[in-house]
């Protein structure tokens, strides 16, 4: 049994309550803000000696000096002489602790006087009510970090039922930028989740949106793990290894030659799948890209008409010059052109109740999408997508949208999340639980500003996702600027080092000044955690993720510069067939246009055929290359028979 390190004290001016108590310690005691302590009462209540667990939230230090002036007088106004005093003044370390748990829990009484002990690992489990989900047969504990104080090291577990549902769900991380805390914490937590998520709860995967920088681009690459971190990994029972199953998705650049991702280095391309959508996919989410000023009721009606009656259908109209089957943006543009020409010929102002101005406006806005989202949206209608329906257990799917325009990011986010939701509702995604990680929540779900489609979707996940197994892990720099219902529905919240201005906002008023100060000075690798089982925030340390960090990855695998068309084709096909060479590509594509070559590449990448060369070459057979007709042979002059009297 450990020795007491303090004693509970209470005065009339500073009494103890059922939720707060005060204690003093020796000056050199290892107690600090965030330390968990145990109080042993001296008087039994209902035959039980009460045990109270608390966490230090405030600290005071003072001496018996009544006025600072006395110290000045005592040292003749010279601070340098203070050190000559033979005695130090009597000094106190007085702490205020918030109650985490009282045992017995009833009757709930003010904390009694008693000795204070440093909480040991078993105490920490009881104090944080982790005993309920770490007991034999429950085991829904997901290690999130290690609590350290004095000589105590205790693993802190989150309850999977409260992290991924069904009881509560979602996780939100706040912290200043530049310390890599948010991304590191999510990478670490996913590793822990994939290791410890109980088998009986089913399969789990994650979709992470890489919205800035190369942070999430090297999850499959090993990172540097310090010895201190190795010890943490061992304590937390997680292998310090990169994620074994990671799949990357990224659209092309606007030119369409190379993938628009930090991970487009040739050495890493094998795990990157192009993300391209056609008209049908985009039109479903047109409202993501078209704001309310663009789409009034008339325009909305026309878009609905196109979606329902035109796209993917044989469409004919007496006014049109031909039958249309619209499957791509190019087809749609041809259809619009035909409609408008028909109206001009008729000299009519409306067609099928749609005014010509509305038709022109919608044409303009829709055609614009393929420009604004170039690289993602194909004119030709080819689709390369996430493997909805065949998601695999313990796999991270990273969608790299870091280099895209905001519109394209919104479109990708909206469509992917909608598809995930649809599949989870139908229970055919391939996994039972899915974590969606979104950074920069300030931007996607702001607390103020106009209501956007993306914000509505995030609210929907936050409020209803847990019933489907769709869990939102979100991060932002300023929690106060995120929609309250999104962060409010996050059962678990993590806080890294915080900005002082952010801490001054009302949302942090529940924290003591000392806790706020600690939050403002947290080291890298430290987090404050709020979880439904913990009645007070807890500080933990987590190991540096065992994956390559963004900056290191970007240095080791530099992003490829724009390359020529041939080189781009070579780089795209080589992961499928390493024997393909540049001369071969040049020979096959020499006679074709850029669009045709890109289309052939996209088709090949989509099909991933066994015989890549044959498949790629076959894409060009439909096109007969223009050939200069050979000069016709002049008919030979028949020689006249020798006996022909008319022959010349």
């Amino acid at each position: 049994m450990s020795t007491a390190l303090g004693r509970v004290v209470a005065t009339e001016r500073k009494p103890n309550t059922p939720h707060e108590f005060h204690f003093w310690t020796a000056i050199d005691s290892p107690v600090g803000i965030g330390t968990i302590v145990r109080v042993e009462g001296s008087q039994p209540i209902d035959g039980h000696i009460p045990h109270i667990y608390g966490i230090v939230v405030e600290g005071f230090s003072y001496t018996d000096l009544q006025s600072p002036m006395h110290d000045v007088l005592g040292h003749d106004g010279l601070p340098t002489t203070a050190g000559y005093a033979p005695s130090e003044r009597a000094e106190i370390r007085l702490y205020t602790a918030a109650v985490l748990r009282q045992i017995p829990e009833e009757p709930l009484q003010p904390v009694p006087m008693g000795q204070v002990f440093l909480a040991e690992e078993a105490d920490v489990q009881i104090a944080l009510r982790m005993d309920s989900y770490l007991k034999e047969g429950a085991s829904t504990g997901i290690p999130v970090g290690v609590y350290r104080a004095g000589g105590t090291e205790a693993v802190i577990y989150l309850d999977a039922d409260f992290l991924l549902g069904p009881e509560a769900a979602h996780l939100n991380i706040t912290g200043v930028s530049g310390l890599a805390t948010k991304t590191s914490a999510v990478e670490w937590l996913l590793a822990s989740l994939f290791t410890h998520f109980p088998d009986e709860k089913g399969s789990i995967a994650a979709v992470a949106f890489n919205v800035k920088g190369p942070d999430l681009c090297y999850l499959d690459q090993p990172g540097k793990v310090e010895d201190s971190d190795k010890a943490l990994y061992e304590k937390l029972r997680v292998d310090p290894k990169p994620f074994p199953q990671v799949e990357y998705f990224a659209p092309y650049t606007a030119k369409g030659l190379s993938l628009n991702t930090f991970r487009n280095n040739e050495a890493l391309l094998d795990k990157v799948t192009p993300l391209t959508w056609g008209l049908r996919e985009v039109l479903q989410f047109a409202e993501v890209l078209l704001n309310k000023d663009d789409v009034d009721a008339k325009a909305d009606a026309l878009i609905d008409f196109i979606r329902e009656q035109v796209v993917d259908k044989e469409f004919s109209d007496p006014m049109l010059s031909k039958k249309h089957k619209v499957q791509s943006f190019a087809d749609l543009d041809a259809w619009f052109r035909d409609v408008l020409q028909g109206m001009e010929k008729k000299d009519g102002e409306s067609w099928r109740t749609h005014h010509v101005a509305t038709i022109r406006k919608v044409r303009n806005r829709l055609s614009n999408i393929s420009t604004r989202c170039a690289g993602l949206v194909t004119n030709t209608g080819e689709v390369s997508d996430l493997p909805f329906g065949s998601f695999t257990d313990r796999t991270v799917y990273v969608v790299d949208v870091a280099n895209l325009e905001e519109d394209a990011q919104d479109l990708i986010f909206a469509r992917i999340v909608s598809k995930l939701r649809e599949h989870l509702e139908r229970r055919d995604l391939g996994v039972k639980h899915l974590v969606v990680f979104v950074d920069e929540l300030n931007k996607y779900a702001p607390g103020d500003g106009q209501d956007t489609y993306v914000r509505k979707m995030l609210l929907d996940i936050a409020e209803r996702g847990r019933y489907l197994g769709l869990v939102l892990f979100s991060a932002q720099q300023f929690r106060s600027q995120v929609h309250r219902r999104v962060v409010g529905n996050s059962g678990t919240s993590l806080f890294g080092r915080m900005d002082a201005d952010e801490l001054a906002t009302p949302g942090y008023a529940v924290l003591s000044p000392a806790t706020r100060t600690k939050l403002a000075t947290l080291e890298k690798g430290q987090l404050m955690i709020r979880h439904p089982h913990f009645t007070q925030p807890i500080f933990v340390r987590f190991p540096r993720p065992s994956v390559m960090q963004g900056r290191e990855g970007a240095e080791r695998y530099p992003q490829s510069a724009d390359v020529s068309l041939d080189a781009a084709i070579l780089r795209a096909l080589r992961p499928l067939d390493p024997t393909i060479t540049l001369p071969w590509v040049q020979e096959i594509t020499a006679l074709y246009t850029e669009d045709e070559i890109i289309r052939a590449r996209n088709a090949t990448l989509l099909a991933r055929p066994e015989n890549v060369r044959a498949y790629f070459t076959a894409q060009f057979r439909k096109i007969i290359p223009a050939q200069t007709p050979a000069r016709p042979m002049a008919a030979s002059i028949k020689s006249a028979p020798e006996n022909d009297p008319y022959g010349f």
């Binding site: 006395h70 007088l73 000559y84 033979p86 005695s87 009597a90």
Partner: protein, 332 residues
Amino acid sequence: MNNAGPDTASRAVLRLLRQWLPEMSVIDGASSLEQTSPGDPPILRSAQLVEGSAMRAIRIAGLSRDTTSDFGAFLDGTQRVRVIGHHFGLPIVLGTVSAAIRVRVNRRLTTWGHQPPRVDRKIYAPLRYIPSLANISPGEAGEANWQIVDTSTADKNGEYPSQHPVALFERATRAVDRDREALEDELAEAWCARGEAPLFVDGGISRSARVSASSCAIGVIKSHRTLYVEGDALRTVMGLKRGERSSIFRVSPRSRNSVLSWYLRLRDADGHDPMWGLVRVEAAESERAAERADEVSRWVIAETSPLALPDGRWDKMSYGIRDCEEFLRAIS
């Protein structure tokens, strides 16, 4: 004298007294007894000079801002006298005395481990005039085994005190004084027996033969009801400047032990009363008395920092003694 509301000890003793003396009147608030000063009257007394032929002011050698102190501990005692009731006007007093040695470890003061601090509580009552109390057997003295001290015993001339309540209260106060001094002496003797670092004693050291002869104990007296100087010597002592001491003289009270003594000015008295910052130091006889007086004076002056504020006697009090008093206040 403390007349605050009854504490735990007072309540316990009141319960007992009510059993023993059902007619006793309990005093809840302030005592109605006249406040008197039971101490000796202020007097001047001559003393034998040990250093030189006339009393003079001596600048202490080697005194500087970074003078250090060799004191290793501080001894002080406190007492609390409370009239808790009266029996037909005869005061019944609860006396609490305490004493402690606080040793200095790494510049911080902590309680001496070899002799725990002492806190004694007793009932002081005139048994001659309340005979029923005289017959209390140990079995009736409660769990705390309350001891009753008779405040009506005959003096050395065989005379009993009158029944005047004030006279009996003064008797009780003196008895409490003696008990406190006994506790202090007990602790000082225990310290000297171990021969540890010099002990700073609040008050004189001449009561105990062992302590007065030990180089381990130095007494520092803050009150000057008796001044051991007369005539020009008084003028010399009153005129001492900061960092000056008087010549050494010998104090040999009749009922006590002989010790060397000198006056020492700790703080400049300009603008204050003449006793401001003036202490009298007592030390055991020494062959090199002057050197010893300078050395001890340097220690005592070093102990003026940190200030003993907010204690009103901070001009003369060392911080270590204030710490003892605060400690005793907390435990008694």
